[in-house]
């Protein structure tokens, strides 16, 4: 039996300590918790905000599918994914992944796997707004992100 990942797509920010506590409270079999927080950079001072568009319904469904694959592949006691949408200013949080496990490498690998697949499979798109007031258009997908997936292929 694998766990049921907690997946949320929301405009609101999240709190690392609070979200971690939800996975660990009252449990004594967890040896490792890895969190990944993705933040908005200002791209050398040029960016005023990112605007994140998403596909409601599919965003939650696709993230859940990715999280379930991680939960089947590694000995995980809990997984949380929170992805924000809407306008996000530099320095603000965009995405949170938490993986809890009895073992440290499983927690690292599950969180790393989740982020690689979120980047390329979760239906979110980023548009850049510049401090100059200009709309800098949609961020291009990176070949490197697509290539990162190949390391998770199993023999």
């Amino acid at each position: 039996m694998t766990i049921t990942p907690s997946v949320r797509v929301q405009a609101e920010n999240f709190d690392l300590t609070e979200e971690t506590a939800k996975l660990t409270a009252g449990r004594f079999d967890i040896g490792a918790v890895v969190t990944f927080t993705g933040l908005c950079r200002d791209e050398g001072g040029q960016l005023s905000a990112l605007e994140l568009e998403h596909y409601p319904g599919m965003a939650e469904a696709e993230i859940s599918r990715i999280a379930e694959r991680a939960a089947e592949r590694w000995p995980i006691t809990g997984l949380t994914v929170i992805h924000r949408f809407g306008k996000i200013a530099p320095g603000e949080n965009i995405v949170l992944v938490i993986a809890a496990s009895p073992h440290r490498q499983a927690a690292f690998d599950a969180a790393n796997f989740l982020m690689d697949f979120l980047k390329t499979r979760a239906p979110f798109w980023k548009k850049e707004h510049l401090k100059s007031g200009q709309d800098n258009g949609w961020v291009d997908a990176k070949d490197l992100d697509e290539q990162a997936l190949t390391r998770w292929e199993q023999a």
Partner: protein, 83 residues
């Protein structure tokens, strides 16, 4: 069938979603993108580089050769840039 658009595909088509009655000859996702490109200038601009556009049927990723017979909802969008 509801067709939904996201990000720059949405901006180029000019609407979030539309309901279309399709000719019987449209069997696959690839057939549909080729057909959409012929509707008007906006659609033509959106689907000019059909190879870069991704598709989902009923909120799951699909390929160009996936049949559309079971689709209640088809979405088209650029490669994802979340995370």
């Amino acid at each position: 069938m509801i067709i939904r658009y996201f990000a720059w595909v949405r901006e180029k088509v000019g609407v979030d979603e539309e309901q279309l009655v399709l000719p019987d000859s449209i069997q696959t996702v690839g057939d549909l993108t080729a057909y959409l490109a012929t509707i008007d200038d906006n659609h033509a601009a959106a689907f000019a580089e059909a190879d870069t556009i991704r598709a989902a049927i009923n909120q799951e990723h699909v390929d160009a050769d996936t049949p559309i017979a079971e689709a209640q909802e088809i979405a088209f969008f650029p490669p994802m840039t979340g995370g």
